[in-house]
Amino acid sequence: MPKTRVGVFVCHCGNNIGGVVRVPEVVEYARTLPNVACVEDNLYTCSEEGLSSIREQIAEHGLNRVVVASCTPRTHEPLFREACEQAGLNKYLFEFVNIREHCSWVHMHDPAMATQKAKELVRMGVAKARFLEPQEEFESSVFPAALVIGGGVAGMTAALGLANQGIQVHLVERDQELGGLIREVRTLFPAGQATEEVLQPLAEQVRNHRQITVHLGSEVEDVGGFIGDFDVAVKADGQVNNLKVGAVIVATGAEELKPTGLYRYSELGNVVTQLEFEERFKRGADVPRDVVIINCVGARIPERTYCGRFCCTTAIKNAIWIKEREPEASVFVLHRDVMAYGVQIEESYRRAMELGVRFLRYDPENPPQILGDGRAEAVRVQHQLMGKEIVLPAELVVLTTPLVARDDNPRLSKMLKVPLGGEGFFLEAHLKLRPIEFSTDGVYVCGSARYPANIPESVSQAYASAAKASIPIREGVVRAEAITALCDERTCSACGNCVEVCPFGAVELQEGRFGRTAQVNPAQCKGCGCCVAACPSGAMQQSGFNDRQLLSMIGALAEEMTGGVGE
């Protein structure tokens, strides 16, 4: 057997790791570890430069194990494994050490401790890597259908994106109608086009597509299984319908914040949100003469730190709408900053000012006051340029609030085993590189379920998620990670503990060459390793997580303590 030769690559991740962990010290330390044949540091190991360096070092030093100390295997393991494979090294001879999420980012104020921890994590990783073995992957088939949860613009677009490739789609919508939140909006930015003109043709295409089954008035009750083989229970009118799909797209959108307690909302009838304003004029109410719009209500505050992204656009759109119908109306927009990004929004901002809409900045420390008894009559605000308080007459006060995550998100997140961020929106696998995917394979996200998204953004995210979801479906097979359990028949005593604990019925006692022993069916094994922990003789092992590998990590961590020497 060839000598074990481990290559260690320590990533600076720009300043993300290197700004806290003293990477050169970790590199020097790694050189002292047994079986380590080469160590280098990279500014970004995941860059093409870093990856080609891994490939080169494998060839130059005859490496047969590779350890990368950088970020998290949940996002970057496939990339480094691929680099190993390209250099002719079985990808299961790669080991990941997380010194960013679990180290530099959480110990930013203690470089000494963080460096010490990084060294120990590298030592543990090298210890495990020495016992890694090459593995072959098992292929399983993908059920050629997809589930899209949510029938708004994002969900409908994603469904069409899949269906137009010939993939069968189940579109589940909670309401009795397709369209989502945007149905409540009267006209669309920037052309003032009626919402139905955009929405109706889209919904029509979805309803008439023979590859799409629309489940209206329905909710997803339960999701089980894995990429390629999800079992979904959809409930409508108390009836549960069981579906089988290969991939899932989350397009459940968001809802408008109802700012109870702010600016006397819900106390005064003429203080309304932007969506309520839309609703009023859909019903044909008279256009008011004095309107004050207040932006950033319930947004960019300590409890809700994010910017609603298109609230400013909404305020501009509705201010223009009023001025076009009632040129004499006085329309004030009280804002903290106007986020008129991009060409069209900036142009509309200018047009609103030309039409006579007045934009006034307010100080969040000294916010506008709504005056009036029983109904809002005026708004008092500190005019920052004049340096004095002014009183604006108000027939109607419109509060611009951000979209907020749906209450239902935690339930869905648990079912799909995907995370939510601090604000309750679905959290993508990677902010920059995997914006519509989750770490859980086969589940994707688009639209405002992830973060407030306007129509063009929702549409492009929907295209992206449909493209991503179609990859496993069109390939027809997914290769399961080779981390399944395996029984050593020579030491198995056929006690059957493993059969008892396996949640998937993947282990059976069968007659074989060594008499009656446990046998694992790799097609059914999902690689949890429960049977391994239950095995009293150590006959059952899990590839990539066997006892020898894990005990060597524990040993490597304890080494220093038993020696009693610091570093």
Partner: protein, 155 residues
């Protein structure tokens, strides 16, 4: 805060804690804590396993007998296991193991089982903080000789 030495002695002892985190919930929760830049004590070292149900009691005993100060096993919340029921085994096994540790003279508090989901970055950080402080309060683990478990490679 920025103590230059992590060794025993000096201005206090820094416990060393081994953490097993399941890939689907707790490891992701730890990642989220990182992404959220939640600061926490640097005493924990995570070993990723696919499921908390993979953690053989022998691992815990080995770690403590080799002088690590604590072992924390993290899994998905009951009812939310990626593999349906792996964390139930962890829970049952954990209770028995605590009894065993007491029997062999190791403070059972040195071994803890907690649930952290993929969205609970803050809970991960709090758990690390709490468990670190609890184990710090116990003082250094000084295992009695003679109960070393199998060395890696014996199998």
């Amino acid at each position: 805060m920025a103590s230059e030495s992590s060794d025993e002695g000096g201005n206090g002892y820094e416990p060393k804690i081994l953490v097993f985190a399941c890939n689907w919930c707790s490891y992701a929760g730890a990642d989220l804590a990182g992404v959220s830049r939640l600061q926490m004590p640097a005493n924990c070292r995570i070993i990723r396993v696919m499921c908390s149900g993979r953690v053989r009691p022998e691992f815990v005993v080995t770690a403590l007998s080799k002088g690590l100060d604590g072992v924390l096993v993290l899994g998905c919340h009951p009812g939310e296991c990626h593999y349906s029921e792996g964390n139930y085994f962890t829970r049952r096994r954990g209770l028995l193991l605590k009894n065993l540790l007491q029997f062999v003279g190791i403070e059972p508090e040195r071994f803890q089982v907690r649930w952290v989901s993929a969205s609970e970055g803050a809970k991960f950080a709090d758990t690390v903080e709490q468990v670190t402080e609890q184990i710090r309060a116990l003082g250094p683990n000084r295992p009695q000789g003679g109960m070393h478990s199998t060395e890696p490679g014996d199998r």
